[in-house]
Point group: C2
DNA sequence: AAAATTATCGGAAAAGGTTTCGGAGATCAA
DNA sequence: TTGATCTCCGAAACCTTTTCCGATAATTTT
């Protein structure tokens, strides 16, 4: 590639320095043309057309081309037209890299999620992408795969890439937040969503997990359930903590004793298959299960059916995360909807606000997105 | 921000040009110090630390710092250590934008998908991200939202951003392929996956939809089904076309007449709820359904159960796309697994190959990823 | 006719990092 | 003392675009 570009330069000066006499002249000229064309074609592949190419071709300076494209009044209408024509012909596309270096703006925001392959996270990303797109920003996606080391490397990468801001949902294994603290200290625009970091003062968008769990639990109580089990997420994750707190609050508010044997750490479908039979084998088995996510809830339903329990007649089930799964189970799951798309929209909007007004002096705020209990078939009808 | 940076320059030359006499001197010096510190602090926020800052602080040139960081033999160990120490202290991160402009390499590949919020596509993205990451590339995601106009704009954006390659799955509404043809003519590294473009010579990764559908249909036949319905995708999409062809081939191979009333365009869960009752009301209702995706299959199962058909005793169901949904339905769905992650891996690997060897002269190839019939509960056991 | 204005364009600098070329100084042998 | 060699480092080029500051010629005003 490089040699060919050099070659081009020397080839361009040929017309002046080259001369042939006699009968060979015509033949050589023909060879030349073919050769030259071939090289030009080759260059097109390696080297995207720049403003300089346009300028050289038109015999004007790069600055003139730039101004012509910006419709600057200093440029004559004739020149503008020439530039526009050649730009269309050569399909010139402005070099965003050069623009970024010049303007110190990349128009990129980055997103760190644990896994894309989760309906909730892909919904959030979808919401982010939507808002970013309409505001002229591009989105760079990074997966931590729930690994702290990966998350650390990603933050370095994001700084290197000079993204203008970052949206983060924490990995499960992250217990040291120094990498994010450094960003925060530099006033790097940053918004946490869903799995947020409590120790860092920053904008956050969270699901109202407490109210979500409380409402769901109260709904179960109102449908007559009294021994409600909770399949909980790890408690070092805020969402796990808040959901459990909401669950307990609902019980206490309604004068139901909290029974620790009914609260089990269980947040995957496999764990559900293991844990649920144990719960049902208790002396006083539960008559309802509040699961911390959709898959776990679906697993619980299936496990119950395998144990010949009727859902919801004998045992009700409620899950978090309203995704595709909830609609297709039998019976369809009653779930706490988290409005992933909306979370993404909100988080992106907050980030853009920070990017646009870095000196606003506004205190970091935490936006709480209301949950919604979507009642389907795994809970009994009210009264 | 800008004014402050300018201000800094003028402030820096103060020590030489500034002189005060008499009693004012001390007071002014104090004021100055405070002023200066304040500005420096301010700059830290706006301006990321560059190689120049390190150089200035150490009293060496930027090139020395660069070489020290690259462990160049020309730099003394003492200088190297000094540089490393200050780099860690000031948390210098190389400016990827400047590097890209200089090296003409962005280390970015772009992905265009119709929607992220589809298990299949997010799996593919996950596979792409994995391969890209281990090869030092970052991934930029774009959603066409099944809109041609969006897809067109995205290709422009990708060219502007100087991504080194692009992975594409076509939008449903795209019928003009000029934007991709332009890229292909420039030899811009490009790999289509899943929803590929037949008219363009380019690397492709496709699911073996024909064999997938044929194998699934044959499996149904071997379990004793004879009237097999097909819920099909639109036929202008290759996947829809191939799956239907595979389905028909299996029937013909086994001497079963193709009945057009059993082939219905239906590729969403809502349509399944509408279409299935109609099929079952036929004079000769089907004893099996081959659905074009997972959700449609799940919808068919639910619709059948509502009509009091036993699945799979009376009607078998097979779906495409092996996602989360398949595992949680009751009974769990027998599906044709498409190995989304693997498709992503393969497509990304092919793209990187093209990026690394642009002049290999290798003809575009089409990689076919085998499907796999994952037998679960919605089909009867084999003989 | 001289002066001022306008129209149109070019040159250079700047953004940040890498690389190449070469220069300055020290050391050592002839 | 001269020349050669080695160590260490600086200056400048390069990538692309935009903007500021001139520069030239043509036109208008006085």
């Amino acid at each position: 590639m490089y040699t060919l570009l050099n070659y081009r330069k020397s080839t361009q000066s040929f017309p002046q320095s080259f001369a042939l006499g006699g009968s060979d002249q015509k033949k050589m000229a023909v060879n030349f043309k073919i050769h030259y064309l071939y090289i030009l074609e080759y260059i097109n592949m390696a080297h995207a057309v720049t403003i300089k190419d346009i300028a050289k071709e038109l015999g004007v300076s790069p600055s003139t081309v730039s101004r012509a494209l910006k419709d600057h009044p200093d440029i004559s209408p004739a020149t503008k037209q020439q530039v526009r024509d050649l730009v269309n012909k050569l399909k010139y596309k402005p070099n965003a890299i050069a623009l970024s270096l010049r303007s110190q703006k990349t128009n990129v925001i980055s997103v760190i999620v644990p896994q894309i392959v989760h309906h909730f996270f892909s919904s959030v990303i979808s919401g982010i992408e939507e808002v970013a797109q309409t505001n002229g920003y591009n989105v760079m996606i990074f997966q931590s795969n729930e690994k702290y080391e990966r998350e650390l490397a990603i933050t370095q990468e994001i700084e290197s890439n000079r993204a203008e801001g970052v949206l983060v949902s924490l990995s499960k294994t992250t217990k040291n937040f120094q990498h994010f603290r450094e960003l925060a200290e530099k006033d790097f625009p940053m918004v946490f969503f869903d799995r947020v970091c409590e120790e860092i003062e920053s904008d956050k968008v969270v699901v109202d997990d407490f109210m979500g769990a409380m409402n769901a639990t109260e709904y179960l109580i109102r449908t007559g359930c009294r021994r409600i089990a909770h399949l909980a997420a790890p408690q070092h994750l805020l969402i796990g903590y808040h959901r459990k707190r909401g669950y307990i609050s609902a019980l206490e508010k309604n004068g139901i004793e909290v029974d620790d044997t009914l609260i089990v750490k269980c947040d995957t479908i496999e764990e559900a298959y293991e844990v649920v039979p144990g719960l049902m084998a208790l002396e006083q088995p539960p008559d309802a299960i509040l699961a911390v996510n959709e898959l776990t809830a679906a697993g619980a339903v299936n496990a119950l059916k395998k144990l010949n329990y009727k859902v919801p007649a004998q045992v009700s089930v409620v899950g978090f995360t309203d995704g595709l799964v909830s609609t297709v189970t039998d019976p369809p799951l009653t779930t706490v909807s988290q409005h992933g798309f909306q979370i993404g929209e909100k988080a992106a909007a907050m980030l853009l606000e920070r990017i646009r007004h870095p000196d606003s002096g506004k205190k970091p705020s935490t936006e709480v997105i209301k949950t919604e209990l979507v009642v389907r078939g795994t809970t009994r009808p009210l009264g």
